[in-house]
C-alpha cells in the first residue's frame, strides 16, 4: 500500500489513454480524424487569437457556442454509448478513464488560462496554427513542450 502511494505521488496523472498499441495501418485513421479536426479549427476560425480575445472579453457568443455545443454532442453520444452498450469497432466495451480531483486542476488550470489568453491557443489550435502557415508558432509549441517537461521534472514537489 505504501509503495503504491509513493508511486501515485511520483506519477500524479496516469497516462490519459491506457490503450492497446496500434500498428501503422491502425494509426492511419487517427491521422484522418486529426486532419478533419484541424480543418474545422481553421474553417471556424477557432485558431484565431481574435476569437479567444472576444471570448475572454465576453464580446461574442461564438466560442461559448462552439465549446457548449461540442460538450452537448459529446454528452449525448456518451450517454447513447452507455445506454445501448455500444462496443468499439473491435468489439471492446468502451472505457472512459476516471479523472481524479487534484489541486493541479485549480493551480495548473489557472496557469493554462493565463497562457491561453496570451497565445490565443490551447494545444490543439497550436498545431493547426502552424499548419496554417504561422511558422513562428513552432517556438510557442517548443516552449509548451518545455513547460510540460518542467512539470514532469518537478511534479513530485508541487502541491497535488
Amino acid at each position: 500500500m505504501k509503495v503504491e502511494e509513493k508511486v501515485k505521488n511520483i506519477q500524479p496523472v496516469e497516462c490519459e489513454a491506457p490503450n492497446m498499441q496500434e500498428n501503422s495501418d491502425g494509426l492511419l485513421k487517427y491521422l484522418i480524424i486529426g486532419i478533419l479536426f484541424g480543418a474545422v479549427f481553421v474553417k471556424a476560425e477557432i485558431i484565431s487569437w481574435f476569437r479567444i480575445q472576444e471570448m475572454f472579453r465576453l464580446q461574442s457568443f461564438f466560442m461559448y457556442g462552439v465549446i457548449g455545443s461540442a460538450i452537448l454532442v459529446g454528452l449525448i453520444s456518451i450517454q447513447l454509448i452507455k445506454r445501448f452498450n455500444i462496443k468499439s469497432i473491435k468489439g471492446e466495451s468502451i472505457k472512459i478513464p476516471k479523472k481524479e480531483f487534484r489541486k493541479g486542476q485549480i493551480i495548473g488550470g489557472f496557469v493554462f488560462g493565463l497562457g491561453w489568453a496570451l497565445t490565443g491557443a490551447c494545444p490543439g489550435p497550436l498545431f493547426a496554427q502552424i499548419g496554417s502557415g504561422f511558422i513562428v508558432i513552432v517556438v510557442t509549441l517548443i516552449s509548451a513542450i518545455a513547460g510540460t517537461w518542467v512539470y514532469g521534472k518537478f511534479s513530485h514537489k508541487l502541491p497535488n
Binding site: 490519459e16 452537448l72 487534484r102 497562457g115 490551447c122 498545431f127 510557442t140
Partner: protein
Amino acid sequence: MEQIIEWISQPWPWYVAGPLIGLTVPVLLLVGNKSFGISSSLRHVCAMCVPANIPFFTYNWKKEMWNIVFVIGVLLGGFVATSFFSNPDTIVVAESTQRDLAALGITDYSRLLPVEIFSFDNLFTAKGLLFFVIGGFMVGFGTRYAGGCTSGHAIMGISSLQWPSLVATIFFMLGGFMMTHVLLEQLMKLVGF
C-alpha cells in the same frame, strides 16, 4: 462543384463547428477506445525525446502513438483548410473587441492572428518572449499540471460528467479572464506595444 467549394470556403458558424468537434469524442471512442485529449501529446513528445529518467516520462509511449499521429493530422488539416478552402474575406471581429484591441495597439485583421504580435520580427524581442516563450510555457506547464486542456477536460471530461473536469474548466476561464482584463494591458506596455 464550384458552389460547394464556395460554400466550404465561407467561415463556418459555431453550430456547425461545435457539433463536429463534439463528434470527435464518440468517433475516437468507437474507432479505438481512445479518450479525446490533445495536451497529452506534449507529454508523449517528452517521453519520446527527453525522458531523462523522470518517472513522469518513463512509460511505453509507443502505446500512445495514436495521439501523436492525431496531432500531426491536426497540423495537416490546418494546412489543407488554409491552402485550399481558405476564407475569402478577412475575419469579422466584434466591434467592441476591435475598440479594446486598438487601445492595445492591435489593428491588423488581415490574418487570423494579429501580425503585430505573431511575426518572426518579434521572435528575439520582449514581445516574442512574452507571447511565444512565456505564453507557450504556461500552456504546456498548466495543461499538464491540470491533467488536460480544453479537449481533455472541457469537452471530454464534462461530456462524461466528471466534476474535476468542470473545476479545471472553470479555472481555465478564470486564468483567461485574469490575463485579459487585469494583466494584458500592463504586460503589453512593458514589452513595447
